[in-house]
C-alpha cells in the first residue's frame, strides 16, 4: 500500500524565517503535486512536478522532486503571514490521474 508522509505535520514559524516541508512516499512515482488549503476552504493547486529533478518556484515557495529518493520538498523563503495554511502533497503512482494519494498535510502558522 502506498504511503505518503509529510514532515512536519505542524509548523509554527516567525515571519522572515526559512523552512522546508518534506513529503516522502513509499513507491515509485514521477508525478507529484502540491496543494494549499486555507481554513474552511478547498484545495488550490500550487505546483505540478512531473519528472526527477523538477524544480518550480512561485514567490516565496519553491518545490522540488527527487524521484530516486522518493522525496519532494517545499521550501519557504522569508515567510510572511499570508503563507499560513495547510499544505498537502499528492502522489500519482500509476501515472493515471485516477489514483492520487494525498499526504496528511502540514499546517503552517506564520507568526508576526
Amino acid at each position: 500500500e502506498l504511503k505518503v508522509e509529510q514532515n512536519p505535520l505542524f509548523l509554527s514559524m516567525q515571519e522572515g524565517k526559512n523552512y522546508t516541508i518534506y513529503c516522502n512516499y513509499s513507491t515509485t512515482s514521477d508525478r507529484l503535486y502540491w496543494y494549499r488549503q486555507d481554513p474552511g476552504k478547498s484545495l488550490e493547486s500550487l505546483f505540478v512536478l512531473l519528472s526527477n529533478g523538477a524544480v518550480k518556484q512561485e514567490g516565496r515557495l519553491m518545490a522540488s522532486l527527487d524521484t530516486k529518493a522518493r522525496l519532494s520538498t517545499l521550501h519557504i523563503t522569508a515567510a510572511v503571514h499570508d503563507l499560513s495554511a495547510t499544505y498537502f502533497c499528492a502522489v500519482d503512482p500509476l501515472s493515471s490521474g485516477q489514483n492520487f494519494v494525498f499526504g496528511p498535510g502540514t499546517r503552517l502558522s506564520v507568526l508576526p
Binding site: 484545495l43 499528492a90 490521474g97 496528511p104
Partner: protein
C-alpha cells in the same frame, strides 16, 4: 481557468434523509472525483468516474453511491444519511491523457447530519 462548482457550500440534513451533492466542471474533463475530508484523517477518496456512466470505488465507498449521466456533472448520493457522514465533501476533476493529471477542486460542501 478550470472551474469546478458544487451545489451547496453548507448543508444540514437529518439522519435517514437522502442527500444529493452535485458537482459540475466546465473544462470537459474525463475524470471526476468525490473525496471527504475529516480532521486527522486527511482526504479520502469515495468514488471516481473516468467517463459518463462509469464509476470506480475509492477507499471508503460504503454508504455512498454516485451518478454520472453527463460528462460535466458528477453527483454523490447518501442513500440514508447518518451522523458519521458529517464531513467536508470535495469534488475534483482532471483531464485524462497527457503528462499532467492535476486535479482541480471545487469549493467544498460542509455537510452536517443531525
Amino acid at each position: 481557468d478550470v472551474k469546478v462548482t458544487q451545489s451547496s457550500r453548507y448543508l444540514v440534513k437529518r439522519t435517514g434523509e437522502k442527500v444529493f451533492l452535485e458537482c459540475v466542471q466546465d473544462m470537459d474533463h474525463e475524470n471526476m472525483f468525490w473525496y471527504r475530508q475529516d480532521p486527522g484523517l486527511g482526504l479520502r477518496l469515495i468514488y471516481f468516474s473516468y467517463d459518463v456512466k462509469m464509476k470506480e470505488k475509492g477507499d471508503i465507498p460504503e454508504g455512498y453511491s454516485v451518478s454520472r449521466e453527463k460528462k460535466e456533472r458528477f453527483s454523490l448520493i447518501l442513500e440514508s444519511a447518518s451522523t458519521n457522514q458529517t464531513s467536508m465533501y470535495l469534488c475534483a476533476s482532471s483531464v485524462s491523457g497527457g503528462p499532467n493529471y492535476e486535479q482541480y477542486f471545487g469549493p467544498g460542501t460542509r455537510l452536517t447530519v443531525t
